[in-house]
Symmetry: C2
Subunit: 479 residues, 2 copies
């Protein structure tokens, strides 16, 4: 396991040192991680990367070399550096279960810990959860467009560095991909890996036919041939069919053909016709080449005969929206034994955080089991499910809704309590299944790739009043 203790912003360390010097580094602070917009202007976000946060927290430790390096910066005293030598996380972290669908402004991760600790871990938590949630969500959108067809993740060569390939492929599978080309991801996370051959294989041989034949000899029961090296319809496909015939004569059935260029709609229809006529209705057509949810959606609406989709660059980088803008904001601080809610003002009302030590509950319809709204509330508030539940819009407060036939679920679950792991660990396979259940629990209007309906996320009356009181108080302070 890699130790990523130094994967942080310098200001976390200078603040830690400042807290230490003021002897307030053990004061308890509460931070919420949340984001303000769903990626790709979509209707939802699938949270991923939580397991990596656990690994990170469990491995937090400054090495001797780290301390020596920090000493060399001439920013820190020896007393602070000694404190770092013994540093470990002793606080509390709650987070949503990995694979959960979340919405803007909802706490995804809630940290309650001594000031110095809570500060150090901000950057890495954001880095891990921002990226994997981004890619899981993108993959979910791509798979939604593919409408049940298998989607394979192929983007390692264009990923933003090794980890982006490794964890991006992991997140893509969580979001719905059937597998990845990335061998390391397959190995580390026990996921299906996929791949056959490249153009270079075809070029290496004197002729395309010989190249195909050699591939079929190597993998007689797994023959998927890339047919667009020279000319898809005039050379690649006829040569592939010759080899398929040879395979069949020897008792093997070919799996498919793959195209990676050209007009995928036209080519796939032609290929399908020719394959069917040649007696290969079960041979699959795999296509790749700059695909994303929009391209797949268009191709499907045009009736392209593509069975399997290989998606690379645009998935692994979420190219139309390459970052989830998750932030980590102070929401409360322990003062004289009580958690005091904290707020940060902003000219932009959207950027004012929800103060306090909070929970998030999801309201489900008892008959359909579909999610109907989320409610953020203070942690000590309760809901009496035997009574109707009234919620209101946090800005247009006259917009209200009353639930009668409902039940609720808490979304934040313990990850660490008193610095100790307080959750089961989940395999990617389980997280993927959980994400699928999550998607099944929402009506399709929230999941569609363009112009989705906005899912309701409301504040409890108590939280809403607290927020407004704090804004007023801060404004008075400035006068």
């Amino acid at each position: 396991m890699r130790n990523l203790t130094m994967l942080t912003d310098l200001y976390q360390l200078t603040m830690m040192n400042g807290y230490f010097k003021s002897n307030i580094h053990e004061d308890i602070l509460v931070f919420d991680m949340f984001f303000r917009k769903n990626p790709s202007s979509g209707g939802y976000t699938i949270i991923a990367g939580i397991e990596q946060v656990i690994d990170y927290i469990e491995n937090l430790k400054f090495s001797e070399e780290d301390i020596d390096y920090l000493r060399s910066l001439n920013l820190f005293g020896e007393d602070f550096l000694s404190y770092l030598i013994n540093f470990k996380f002793t606080g509390e972290i709650y987070a949503v279960r990995e694979g959960t669908i979340m919405f803007p402004n909802e706490p995804i991760v809630r940290v309650k810990a001594p000031a110095a600790q809570a500060q150090l871990i901000e950057t890495a938590i954001l880095n891990m959860v921002n990226f994997q949630s981004l890619i899981a969500t993108k993959a979910s959108r791509v798979c939604y467009s593919a409408n049940g067809d298998p989607v394979m993740e192929f983007g390692l060569r264009r990923a933003q560095g090794p980890d982006a390939g490794l964890y991006g492929a992991r997140a893509a599978v969580i979001g719905g991909c059937v597998g990845t080309s990335n061998v390391l991801t397959g190995q580390e996370f026990e996921l299906p890996i996929l791949g056959t051959h490249a153009h270079s294989w075809v070029q290496k041989f004197p002729t395309e036919l010989e190249a195909f034949r050699a591939y079929a000899t190597t993998y007689p029961d797994k023959t998927m041939l890339l047919i667009d090296t020279y000319n898809t319809l005039e050379s690649g496909l006829p040569n592939a069919i010759k080899v398929f015939d040879e395979l069949r004569a020897n008792g093997h059935e070919p799996l498919g053909v793959r195209i990676d260029s050209g007009d995928l709609e036209y080519l796939s229809k032609e290929i399908r016709k020719i394959l069917d006529d040649a007696g290969y209705p079960n041979v699959k057509i795999t296509a790749s080449n700059d695909l994303d949810e929009y391209a797949i959606s268009t191709l499907k609406s045009q009736g392209a005969k593509i069975d399997i989709w290989g998606v690379g660059t645009k998935l692994i980088t979420s190219s139309d929206w390459p970052s989830l803008g998750g932030v980590y904001k102070l929401s409360a601080a322990m003062e004289n034994g009580e958690l005091v809610p904290k707020i940060k003002l902003s000219e932009d009302p959207q950027k004012i955080n929800n103060p306090g030590y909070k929970r998030v509950v999801r309201i489900y319809n008892k008959t359909t089991n579909k999610a109907e709204a989320d409610l953020m509330m203070l942690a000590d508030e309760t809901i009496d499910e035997s009574k109707p539940l009234k919620v209101f819009h946090p800005v247009y407060t006259w917009k209200t809704k009353i639930f009668y036939n409902y039940y609720t679920k808490d979304l934040l679950e313990p990850l660490f309590i008193d610095g100790k792991l307080a959750t089961n660990r989940y395999k990617v396979k389980e997280i993927k299944e959980y994400a699928q259940k999550e998607k099944d629990s929402f009506w399709p209007q929230y999941l569609r790739i363009s112009s989705p309906e906005r899912y309701k996320v409301d504040l409890s009356e108590k939280l809403w009043e607290l927020k407004n009181d704090l804004i007023e108080m801060r404004k008075r302070d400035q006068q």
Copy 2:
């Protein structure tokens, strides 16, 4: 050093196995890595990531666990797995020096190695060079807009995973940033790291004034205060000036203020005026908040009084163009002791590769020392610099140019020969200086951020003819 041997696409391993079974895995192949478009529709690309390619190649080794994992896939025989146990790179790699400016279709990395080896390393080389070149280029564009003002890289929390933060910050410094907030990058690559405090620091204290005072007490000679937590002009700045006065009374000079929200043009002008009037003309104004080369360019043209730029998300993800589309294409194969040029056809003429074992030379004007054009040629071609040199456009061949007063430089340099390291290793500081020299060697029309002039990249007559002959030959083959 991390072993990234398994960071590859499965099809590399299935092809290797296929070559092995056909007993052609030791046949020598030549691959070129090149890209087809400059990022952000710009005029150039700064190549970065070469040092990581060296580390990767030097650490190539399949572990016992790797072999066990591959065995479990039921794709490979024991003879091939035994071959992998002893696998190491024994071939030749040439690459441009890290920090070199390159253009579409030019070989950046040239691999000549046994087929199985050349294939395995494709994915990781592309991953590393694609990403770091992308970010170095983006940083160069951002710094170009800042026109000499210091630019700091702040993007770790939004980077696409830990490595994207680590190596992205490295590349950003190569491209021109003065430093990064990323502590790990500072430690691993001996780079300046920067940072002061966040909004949470201000919120932690009962008042903003107390927070500023505590920070100034901790770092009396490095006081840079974030003044936009509550209200920049009405609270943050007056409180900062109070603390600056206290600092000065104690013999210290403050460094600056930072703003991270609001209208940066208006606020910076107001802040400058107030700071100047208060006797702090040397206090710097640092600004951040969704900046990139376009935003900085506009703010500067409006006369914003910003001295230092903090650039995060849009730099570390190259958000408007989040991948460099580098590819790795077979260009030659050893057959009967001779390197035979190879081509891949495509409906799209832009996608037809330049065949053969090639070099790239840059033509400089002897008087100005500015680069005038690049010429791709076969490796055994020479240039007689005592004679005029005529080049022609590879598509519009009637467009020609003759150089008289020139000298040339080979861009591809040895990285590995016979599997052994054949280059000096460079520190990031040296690479950054080299990249700056590279920029100085081009006229500004190629470097500007919008609508740049297209730099000439031509083919030698011999290479041009070879390419056309091969295209004709391949077309005849299909008839």
